[in-house]
């Protein structure tokens, strides 16, 4: 029941927020914040219940009507991340003027749909939730976005819809061949080699677009640049993780032999993304695009870790996903705050901002250092383990990853140098620093980034049993 509520409550909240918005537009945000906070409370109690359970997971029985849910160690970190970013997204769009009721309704519906993706224990429910995520995100970009929002929304929709159509075919084949819609059941039954290969690549198409895997990434910068801040936070923070989650939850265990055969391809694409994304971030003149391309690089580590398939690497994949969720959310939040004040994202027009807005500048320094993988902050543990395990699996190819690590330093420090350091760009000399609402949005992310960086065991201990089981099906250790 608790798990069902985790999904239905945000949808109910979305309805409430929409209705409130019709009569009292300014009250909608209060409703949305209350719902997001209450949802976070529900998430915490569900996580506690799951970790208290003997199996380490929580299930809801309603199998008969296609509504089986399961909160295990793999889903837990991502559900927690969704709960946290839900609050941040509401705070980030606090001052939205255009139809606030509908805006917050879309955010909450998005949150409910994503939570359903992570909790689904049934293939059809997984698919429905997967597609349901698309709709609110499409409107968030298309209605509340910037100048070229229509094109970006269409591109986002076409790309991901094409990918998920292939995924749907894969899911249907799984269901017809195994005779069950249950994820666990399908994994247990298994597929023959030829079907497995087909299924893996069909599913991979859907996941790869979402992550996004190089070279299927070009929808991402466009979508981010046009999306409103809250949309970018949810998109980078959570939606990209659906791809990595899909691989680990479904792709690898349903067709383990095919996954192992595909590993060199995935590793190659992941390694390319790590270097290529960093190089592209280095070339950007638009601060938001820079952060978007950095996502391509970071998600490259997830793809790399998935290609390795060892229990430690799969755990690392989740660590990277959670870390990137926190870090990219923080950076998009900060870029959004800057855009609110300056109405530009052009890096060349900034400079020396640390002097006028020390609070914002300190947060930016923190966020960019987290993004370059500084030890002690969230990004490091997962990327380190990916590289260590990557060397076990792929040897000296990790030298290319090491180049990506250096480039990550280059683009992040270039951004910091151009935006926050150097002489002050005079046109911004009377910019205002963070207000309490903005601080309230930043602080939980910053705390999360430090906690995960210092104590990755918090997440890895939850993921470990699931990762171990999946790695075993892959025949590794």
């Amino acid at each position: 029941m608790l798990l069902t509520t985790l999904i239905t409550f945000p949808f109910a909240g979305a309805l409430a927020s929409w209705l409130t918005g019709r009569w009292a537009p300014r009250a909608a945000r209060v409703v949305a914040l209350t719902v997001a906070l209450a949802e976070a409370g529900l998430v915490v109690s569900a996580l506690l219940a799951a970790s208290g359970a003997a199996s380490g997971s929580l299930t809801t029985g309603l199998t008969g009507i296609g509504w089986p849910l399961r909160l295990d160690g793999l889903a837990s970190p991502l559900v927690a991340l969704t709960g946290l970013l839900g609050i941040v997204a509401v705070l980030a769009s606090w001052r939205v003027r255009k139809r606030p009721g509908a805006h917050f309704a879309m955010l909450l519906a998005l949150q409910g749909a994503v939570t359903a993706v992570f909790l689904a224990a049934d293939l059809l429910l997984f698919y429905v939730a997967w597609e349901a995520v698309l709709i609110p995100m499409f409107f968030l970009i298309g209605v509340w976005g910037h100048e070229k929002r229509r094109h970006a929304a269409m591109k986002f929709f076409a790309y991901t819809f094409a990918g998920s159509a292939l995924m749907l075919v894969g899911l249907i084949v799984v269901i017809t061949h195994t005779g069950t819609t249950s994820i666990a059941g399908a994994i247990k039954t298994g597929l023959d080699a030829r079907t497995g290969t087909l299924v893996f690549w069909l599913l991979a198409a859907g996941f790869a677009v979402k992550i996004p895997v190089w070279p299927l990434h070009t929808w991402l910068p466009d979508a981010h640049v046009e999306a409103p801040t809250a949309g970018s936070i949810m998109l980078a923070g959570i939606l990209l993780k659906m791809g990595g989650y899909g691989f680990i939850r479904l792709g690898l265990p349903v067709a383990p032999a095919a996954a192992r055969a595909a590993a060199p391809v995935l590793a190659t694409l992941g390694i390319i993304a790590i270097v290529y994304g960093a190089l592209m971030a280095l070339a950007q003149t638009d601060l938001k695009r820079l952060v978007a391309y950095s996502s391509v690089a970071h998600m490259g580590f997830v793809v790399l870790a998935i290609s390795i398939g060892s229990k430690l690497a799969l755990t690392a994949a989740v660590l990277v996903m959670v870390a990137h969720g926190l870090t990219s959310a923080l950076l998009f939040l900060l870029v959004g705050m800057l855009h609110d004040r300056t109405h530009t994202r052009d890096i060349a027009r900034f400079g020396g901002l640390l002097r006028v807005v020390p609070g914002w500048g300190t947060a930016l320094t923190f966020g960019l250092l987290a993004s370059l993988g500084l030890p002690g902050l969230a990004g490091f543990p997962g990327e380190l383990v990916s590289t260590l395990e990557g060397f076990r699996a792929w040897g000296w190819w990790m030298a290319v990853v090491a180049v990506g690590v250096v480039l990550a330093g280059a683009y992040n420090l270039r951004a910091l140098r151009r935006v926050a350091h150097g002489p002050l760009a005079e046109e911004w000399s009377d910019m205002r620093d963070l207000d309490p609402r903005e601080v309230a949005a930043i602080v939980p992310l910053a705390i999360g980034i430090v906690v995960l960086g210092v104590w990755p065991g918090l997440v890895s201990s939850a993921v470990a049993p699931v990762a171990e089981a999946i790695a075993k099906t892959l025949g590794g250790g």
Binding site: Y159, R194, L282, L384, G409
Partner: protein
């Protein structure tokens, strides 16, 4: 003190809490900030001294799993033995002196609390690096000292030169860190463990090629951090940071971390003659080349920066010759006299308002205490007996002589040049006529007191040689023979005399050099143009590559294909149904049709299954 020694995590937690406090409540803690910031160095000093007194055999260790999945465990822990205890003492002493010195030097700076918070964070990171029991936690400390260095070089972040220098320092050392990362990955793959204790067994059992590769990758990391050729280019620029920071981070502690790393992972180097050879060659070359560059500098801090690069080269030479204890001995004495020289330079900059040697002159009359401290440090650096540098440098040269007389004689030549630049800069700054520093005044007690402490150490530390090497486990028999002492001392005095008399009459004596020497002089002043060449060869090509790849590969090829496919689909749409291009419903219908077609294909493909 023994309690502290057996609970070494205080060296980490105390400065960490201090940094957090100063970071969060700095505005209200302003007057107390430096005194609170002393707690971190004090913890390091007490713990390190306690552990040293407890004796060489005593090793305190502890570890916890950091990321554990089943039987695969990445653990982190601490290990305090005599080597790490000694490093803690160095950190504690130098950092205490630097904090006290900063009270005077940084007075009235905006960002006062930020400064002391960062110094505390640095102390925590350096202590973490030093007491690491495995490569993971060592790497964490390693990167965190790097970021503290970044933030402190760029302390005056609105000054472009400082901001650029900070970034250059971080990125150059990160190239080395990439090597360290790969070394970790290699060791992890071959042994399944990151523990430093396990390296001995690894070195004994792994194939020589693997050991050599691991050692060379570790050395790449060490060379970045310790500014060895060709990764030395960041250190002269790092002088843009506040001078006490240069003393702490860029002279005594962080830049010596590379030497510490090699000493800590010694079993790998001991098992690899190739790696030792590379370390020796790089160290000796750096020692000599940087000494010539130091000779030609006009900025008092840049003299010291090149001097530091050169002296670190001496330490690596000792490592390459197989004697890590001599390297650590020189690390310790160098920490004292180079921190002293930097702080004395800071006092000069504070009192005289310039760091250009050509504008100084005659400061001995206006700043006598500073002058005495500077000369104590300078003579120790030059290797004049019986000051600290004499003992440790001769230990280094003796160690290298065993391995390669040519290398040892090169180091003696470098010592001669060292003495020469010491004499030159002393002459230019403190003697002769006052040129542009008539308002110079002696610095306050908060600055001269730390100078006194360090000057005492620079004079006396040499006499601790036996105790110190003994604590590190040396078995004696490393007596220094006259065959080394005589030429080394002769070189020191020759260098001192030359430097002294050439620049005694005319501060711009180099302008009267014959033209070939003048040209060489100009080249040395610019670090032989190496720095500029590296920047030219990397930064702009990289940016061009990034921009072109973005414009062509990303925008035209990849995105163009994607948009083309989408437009093509839209075109077919128009042709088929005369619908509007880009309608969501149409995409939906197309996709549904596609799903049906694909399903048919898949069902056909898997029909036998």
């Amino acid at each position: 003190m023994t309690w502290f020694a057996s609970h070494p995590l205080g060296v980490l937690l105390v400065p960490l809490v201090v940094a957090a406090m100063l970071g969060a409540f700095g505005r209200w803690l302003r007057p107390a900030a430096p005194w609170i910031a002393l707690l971190g160095p004090a913890a390091a000093l007490v713990t390190g001294a306690g552990a040293l007194m407890a004796g060489e055999s005593r090793v305190v260790v502890g570890s916890v799993p950091w990321i554990a999945v089943g039987d695969r465990v990445l653990a982190v822990g601490y290990r305090v033995d005599s080597l790490s205890a000694l490093m803690l003492v160095v950190l504690g002493v130098v950092a205490s002196c630097v904090v006290v010195f900063s009270v005077g030097y940084m007075r009235g700076e905006r960002g006062w609390s930020r400064y002391f918070a960062l110094i505390s964070l640095f102390c925590a990171s350096m202590a973490g690096l030093v007491i690491a029991s495995g490569l993971v936690e060592l790497f964490i400390g390693w990167e965190l000292v790097g970021v503290c260095s970044f933030l402190l070089i760029g302390f005056w972040y609105d000054k472009p030169a400082a901001a650029d220098a900070a970034r250059k320092a971080f990125l150059t050392t990160r190239v080395g860190d990439a090597g360290l990362l790969l070394a970790m990955a290699l060791i992890w793959t071959k042994t399944g463990s990151m523990s430093i204790d396990g390296l001995g067994r690894a070195a004994a059992t792994l194939p020589p090629a693997v050991v050599t590769a691991a050692a060379l990758l570790l050395f790449l990391g060490a060379a970045g951090k310790s500014a060895q050729f060709p990764l030395h280019i960041w250190l002269p620029d790092a002088m843009e940071g506040p001078t006490p920071v240069s003393a702490l981070i860029h002279a005594a502690t962080m830049v010596a971390a590379g030497v510490y790393l090699v000493a800590r992972t010694w079993p790998l180097f001991a098992a690899s003659p190739v790696a030792q050879g590379v370390v020796l060659v790089v160290g000796v070359f750096t020692a000599l080349a940087a000494a010539t560059a130091a000779l030609a500098q006009t900025d008092i801090k840049r003299v010291l920066a090149y001097s530091t690069i050169s002296q670190l080269g001496f330490m690596f030479a000792a490592l390459g010759a197989g004697n890590w204890r001599a390297a650590i001995f020189h690390l310790v004495t160098h920490a004292a006299f180079k921190a002293l020289l930097f702080l004395a330079a800071g006092s000069v900059i504070h009192g005289a308002g310039t760091q250009d040697l050509r504008q100084m002159g005659g400061l001995v009359r206006r700043m006598p205490a500073t002058a005495v401290a500077w000369m104590a440090g300078g003579l120790a650096l030059a290797g004049v007996p019986p000051l600290a540098g004499f003992f440790s440098k001769d230990a280094v040269i003796a160690a290298v002589m065993h391995r390669s007389p040519l290398a040892a004689w090169t180091l003696i030549l470098a010592s001669l040049l060292t003495a020469m630049y010491v004499a030159r800069s002393t002459q230019l700054a403190f003697f002769g006529d006052s040129r542009d520093v008539y308002a110079a005044h002696e610095s306050p007690l908060s600055m001269t007191l730390p100078l006194g402490v360090l000057a005492g150490l620079a004079c006396a530390l040499g006499f601790t040689a036996t105790a110190l090497l003994g604590a590190l486990g040396a078995t004696g028999g490393e007596s220094i023979s006259a065959a080394i002492v005589v030429p080394a001392v002769l070189a020191a005095f020759t260098g001192l005399a030359t430097g002294w008399f050439v620049w005694a009459r005319e501060p711009g004596a180099e302008n009267a050099f014959p033209s070939w020497l003048e040209r060489a002089w100009g080249a040395a002043r610019n670090g032989y143009g190496f720095d500029a060449a590296v920047v030219r060869a990397t930064v702009q090509p990289l940016m061009t590559l990034a921009t072109l790849t973005y414009a062509f590969t990303d925008r035209i090829v990849i995105d163009g294909t994607a948009e083309g496919v989408s437009k093509g689909a839209g075109g077919i749409a128009e042709w088929l149904r005369e619908l509007q291009n880009g309608d969501v419903h149409w995409y939906g219908a197309m996709t549904a049709a596609g799903v049906v077609v694909l399903l048919t294909v898949v069902v056909w493909l898997t029909r036998g299954a």
